[in-house]
C-alpha cells in the first residue's frame, strides 16, 4: 500500500521523465521480454502440430546433450577463461592506446591511425579465416615462408594447440581494439581540462597526470564495459572461434567454447529445444555471476554499479 503511494507520487513528480522512458520500456518489452516465452522450448520436444505450448513436456531432457559427452565443465572453463583474458588484456590495451592517441598532436596522423585501427572491425571472420589459413598453413603460409627464409624450421601452427589461445586472443584484440579504444577516447575527451591545468600548476609530469587523473576518470567506463562483458561471459565471439578453428579437432581441447560446441552439435539436426536449453544454461550462469559482481561494486561505490 505504502509502496504504491510512493510510486504514484514519483510518477506524478517526474511524469516527464517517465514519459521519456516509455519508448525504451516498450521497445524492450516487445523486442526482448515477449519472446522470452520461448524459454519454455527448453523443456519441450518440439512438434509442428503442437507449437509452443502443445508440444510434449520433457523436463530436463534437452539439457542432456550438454553433459552427455562429459566435457561441459571443460567447455565452461574454456569459455570463461578466454573471456577473462579478453576482458583484462582488451581493456588494458585499449585504455593504453586511447591515452597514447589522446596525447598525440599530429591531427592527420591521429585521424589516419584511428581509422585504420577501426578497419578490422569491418572484416568478417569468414574472410579472415581464409587470410589466416593463407598466413599460417604449413607448406606455403606467410609465417613459415618467413621462418624458412631466415633459415629456421617451419612450424606447424594449425597442429600446435598451445599456440591457439595466444593466436585467438591476438585476433580478438586486433578485431576489437579500435572499437573499445574509441569508447575510452571519448571518455578522455570528456574529462575537464581544469584537472590537467591544476595538475600542471602542481608540477606533475605527463606520466603522473595520466596515472592520477586520466586513469581514475576512466573507471566508470571500465565498469560498464566490464559488466557487459561479464554478463555475456558464457557466450559471444562464436565466429572468432568457429571460423579460425573450424573442423580441426586437434585444437578442440584448448579452443572449444560452449557456443561452438552447441553449434556443431545442432548443425545437422537442429532442435529448438536443445538450442534453447543451451542458451538457458549460459544465461543462468551469466546471471548469477553478474548479480554477484554488481553487488560487490555497489558495496564499493554505488555510483559505478549498473543497477
Amino acid at each position: 500500500m505504502l509502496k504504491k503511494r510512493g510510486f504514484l507520487f514519483e510518477l506524478n513528480k517526474n511524469k516527464i521523465m517517465f514519459a521519456m522512458l516509455i519508448p525504451t520500456v516498450l521497445f524492450f518489452l516487445i523486442n526482448s521480454y515477449f519472446p522470452m516465452v520461448g524459454i519454455y522450448y527448453a523443456f519441450t520436444s518440439y512438434d509442428f502440430a503442437g507449437g509452443l505450448f502443445g508440444s510434449p513436456f520433457v523436463g530436463l531432457d534437452n539439457f542432456k546433450f550438454l553433459y552427455q559427452s562429459g566435457i561441459l565443465w571443460k567447455l565452461t572453463l574454456n569459455t570463461i577463461g578466454y573471456n577473462l583474458v579478453f576482458i583484462v588484456i582488451g581493456n588494458a590495451l585499449s585504455i593504453a592506446i586511447a591515452i597514447l592517441i589522446s596525447e598525440i598532436r599530429g591531427k592527420l596522423f591521429k585521424k589516419l591511425t584511428q581509422s585504420i585501427m577501426f578497419l578490422p572491425y569491418f572484416m568478417s571472420f569468414v574472410l579472415l579465416s581464409v587470410l589466416a589459413y593463407n598466413m599460417f598453413n604449413f607448406e606455403s603460409g606467410f609465417v613459415n615462408q618467413l621462418l624458412k627464409s631466415m633459415g629456421l624450421a617451419a612450424v606447424d601452427i594449425y597442429n600446435t594447440p598451445w599456440l591457439w589461445p595466444i593466436l585467438i586472443t591476438l585476433f580478438y584484440i586486433w578485431k576489437n581494439l579500435g572499437y573499445s579504444m574509441v569508447i575510452y577516447l571519448a571518455s578522455i575527451m570528456g574529462i575537464s581540462d581544469e584537472y590537467y591545468e591544476a595538475a600542471k600548476i602542481d608540477g606533475a609530469n605527463i606520466l603522473q597526470r595520466i596515472w592520477h587523473i586520466t586513469v581514475p576518470m576512466l573507471k566508470p567506463t571500465f565498469v560498464v564495459l566490464l559488466l557487459f562483458a561479464l554478463g555475456s561471459i558464457m557466450k559471444g565471439q562464436f565466429d572468432l572461434f568457429y571460423q579460425l578453428v573450424g573442423n580441426n579437432g586437434l585444437l578442440y581441447n584448448v579452443t572449444d567454447i560452449i557456443d561452438t560446441y552447441v553449434y556443431r552439435s545442432l548443425k545437422v539436426n537442429f532442435d529448438i529445444g536443445m538450442a534453447t536449453a543451451a542458451g538457458l544454461y549460459q544465461s543462468l550462469f551469466g546471471f548469477v555471476l553478474i548479480m554477484t559482481v554488481n553487488a560487490i561494486i555497489r558495496k564499493i561505490n554505488e555510483d559505478y554499479a549498473l543497477f
Partner: protein
C-alpha cells in the same frame, strides 16, 4: 531485495507468456483468411469459372506462397508475371516465388516451417531433413488430396515413387521423376597419367601408384584435392559395397548392399584400423597438405583450377562434367579422366525419390490450389519451361530441336538454365540439356545397365530416442576421428582406441543399437 526483483521478473515473464498464448496461433490463422477474402471481392466477375477440370473449387482468387532454397534468378519478376498470367486463367490463382538464398538457409527453412506463417509449397530433400520434418508433422499428408486436386500429377509420378516417399504410410511430398545419378568417382589428370606412364587409378593399389607418380614427377602439384578429410567415405565407396550411394552410413556402421540385414560396426574394427593406418601413410607421403582440416576452398575448385592431380570425393557425373568444361576453357591442353565408384561396386544407385520434392506445409491456407498449381509446374510445358529455362528467345533458345542454348553468358543472363533451382519439378519429357551434358547422359545410360534401387535414403531415421547421444558422438567424431582420418595422430592404434573410448562414453552403443533396430524394421517394411 533480490528476491523481490526476481519475483517481479517472473510476473513479467508470465504475463507476456499469457499474452502471447492468448493471441496464439489459432487467432492469427483465423484472421488471415478474411484478408484473402477481401482481396477476392474485386474479382467477383471471375466466378463464372468456379471449378477447374479436376473439380476443385476455384471461385476464390488466391495468392500462393512458394518457397525454394537458394538464390532467386535476376529475371524472376518477369517469369513470375508470365506464370501468373497462366495461373490466373487456369486456376484463378497467382503465385509469389520466394527464395531463401543460401545464407543460413537451414535456419531459415526451420523458421519458415516452425513459425506458422502461411506457406503453400516448399522444397524438400533428404538433406533438408524431409523425413524428420514429415514425422514431426510439418507437412500435410497428400494421399487424399492428390487424386482430387492433381489427378494428372498423381498419374504422372510412378506408383513405386509414391510408395518410396511415404513416411509412416503417408505421402508428404511430390517426388521428382527425372532419374539421375549423383554417385561419386575419382577424377584425375589423364594427361599427366599418360605423360608419366602411370596406371589408371581404379583401385587402392593403382590409386596409390598414380599419386606416388604425381608426387615424384610434379612436386608442385597437390596429389589429392580433398579437404576436411572427406576422402574416408570415398575410399569406402571404392573398397566396399556400402549400401549408400553417396554419404556414409552414419554412426560408423557397416551395412553392405548385398547383405543389408548384416549390421556391424565399422568404427573400431580391424578394417577401420587398417584404413586409418593407410591414411597415415598417405599423409606422410604428402598426398594432402598438413593443415587439410582448415582448408576452406572447395575440393572441386581446387581440382578444376589445376592445383591438384586428383579428387576422390565431390565429383559426381554432373560436377565432373563441370570440371571438364572448366579445364577445357582454362587449359585446353589438359585432359581429365574419371573412374566412377559404381564401376568398382558393381552397381549404381539412381537418386532416391525423396531426394527432390515439394511438400505442402500444414500452415498452407490453400492446399488444393497449391497442389493443382504444382501439377501445372510439372506437367504443363508452358509452366515448366518458363520456370526451368526462362523465356524462349530472351533467356534461351532451342538448338537443333533438342538442345538448350543459353543466350548471353552465365554472368549476364538473368535466368540461366534451371535458374530457380527447379530440381524438383524437372519433367523428363520436357527437359532440355546443354550440348555439353551429352557426356553426362552417356554416363547415366552406362549406369542404367547396372542400376539397383537405392534402399538407403528412404529410411526414415527417428533419432529422438538418442538425440543427446547423437549430438555428443558427432562432437567426439570431429575431435578424435577427424585428426586420425587425415593422419595427424602419430600413434594410430592408440588414437583409435581413445576415439572408441570417448565415443562409447558419449553413447555410441546405444545409438548403434537403436539405429540397427529401426533399420531392420524398415527393411521388414519394404520387404528386403
Amino acid at each position: 531485495m533480490g528476491k523481490r526483483r526476481l519475483l517481479t521478473l517472473c510476473t513479467v515473464t508470465l504475463l507476456t507468456a499469457s499474452m502471447l498464448a492468448g493471441c496464439g496461433g489459432t487467432k492469427t490463422e483465423a484472421e488471415k483468411p478474411s484478408v484473402d477474402k477481401s482481396q477476392t471481392k474485386d474479382n467477383g466477375d471471375n466466378s463464372t469459372t468456379t471449378t477447374t477440370a479436376n473439380g476443385i473449387d476455384t471461385s476464390e482468387k488466391v495468392e500462393l506462397q512458394f518457397y525454394m532454397l537458394g538464390e532467386a534468378p535476376k529475371d524472376l519478376p518477369t517469369i513470375q508475371e508470365e506464370i501468373n498470367k497462366l495461373a490466373l486463367a487456369d486456376l484463378n490463382a497467382t503465385v509469389k516465388f520466394n527464395f531463401t538464398t543460401w545464407t543460413d538457409w537451414s535456419q531459415k527453412y526451420k523458421l519458415l516451417l516452425s513459425s506458422g506463417q502461411p506457406i503453400d509449397l516448399i522444397f524438400t530433400a533428404d538433406w533438408t531433413e524431409y523425413q524428420s520434418y514429415a514425422k514431426k508433422g510439418a507437412f500435410l499428408p497428400l494421399d487424399e488430396l492428390l487424386p482430387k486436386a492433381a489427378p494428372k500429377l498423381n498419374e504422372f509420378v510412378p506408383k513405386d515413387m509414391w510408395e518410396a516417399v511415404k513416411i509412416d504410410k503417408k505421402i508428404y511430398t511430390v517426388p521428382a521423376t527425372w532419374k539421375e545419378y549423383v554417385t561419386e568417382g575419382i577424377a584425375y589428370r589423364e594427361d599427366l597419367r599418360k605423360k608419366y606412364n602411370l596406371p589408371k587409378p581404379e583401385s587402392i593399389e593403382t590409386l596409390e601408384q598414380y599419386l606416388d607418380g604425381i608426387r615424384k614427377n610434379e612436386p608442385n602439384l597437390l596429389p589429392l584435392a580433398d579437404n576436411q578429410g572427406y576422402h574416408t567415405s570415398s575410399v569406402r565407396q571404392l573398397t566396399t559395397k556400402t549400401v549408400n550411394s553417396s554419404n556414409t552410413v552414419p554412426y560408423g556402421l557397416n551395412i553392405m548392399y548385398d547383405k543389408p540385414r548384416d549390421v556391424t560396426s565399422y568404427w573400431g574394427s580391424p578394417q577401420h584400423l587398417a584404413d586409418l593406418k593407410m591414411y597415415k601413410t598417405w599423409a606422410d607421403k604428402g598426398y594432402w597438405p598438413k593443415n587439410v582440416l582448415n582448408i576452406k576452398d572447395s575440393g572441386h575448385d581446387v581440382f578444376a583450377n589445376g592445383k591438384a592431380a586428383a579428387i576422390l570425393g565431390s565429383e559426381n557425373p554432373n560436377r565432373y562434367n563441370d570440371s571438364v568444361i572448366k579445364i577445357k576453357s582454362l587449359h585446353p591442353d589438359w585432359e581429365l579422366g574419371y573412374f566412377p565408384y559404381p564401376n568398382a561396386k558393381g552397381f549404381a544407385q539412381p537418386v532416391h525419390p525423396i531426394h527432390n520434392g515439394f511438400a505442402i506445409p500444414r500452415t498452407s491456407k490453400h492446399p488444393e490450389r497449391a497442389l493443382a498449381f504444382y501439377e501445372k509446374m510439372v506437367t504443363d510445358k508452358r509452366y515448366n519451361w518458363l520456370t526451368q529455362y526462362g523465356i524462349e528467345g530472351k533467356n534461351f533458345e532451342v538448338e537443333d530441336g533438342k538442345y538448350y542454348k543459353m543466350l548471353g553468358d552465365a554472368q549476364s543472363n538473368g535466368f540461366p538454365r534451371e535458374g530457380m533451382q527447379g530440381w524438383a519439378w524437372r519433367n523428363p519429357e520436357f527437359m532440355l540439356f546443354d550440348k555439353s551434358f551429352d557426356a553426362v547422359l552417356t554416363m547415366f545410360s552406362e549406369f542404367d545397365k547396372i542400376a539397383k534401387p537405392d534402399i538407403f535414403q528412404g529410411f526414415p531415421e527417428d533419432w529422438s530416442p538418442y538425440q543427446a547421444e547423437k549430438a555428443a558422438v558427432e562432437q567426439v567424431e570431429k575431435q578424435y576421428l577427424y585428426p586420425l582420418n587425415v593422419g595427424l595422430v602419430e600413434d594410430v592404434e592408440g588414437g583409435l582406441k581413445l576415439f572408441m573410448e570417448k565415443a562409447k562414453q558419449a553413447g555410441l552403443d546405444k545409438i548403434q543399437e537403436e539405429y540397427t533396430k529401426q533399420w531392420l524394421k524398415y527393411l521388414d517394411d519394404i520387404g528386403q
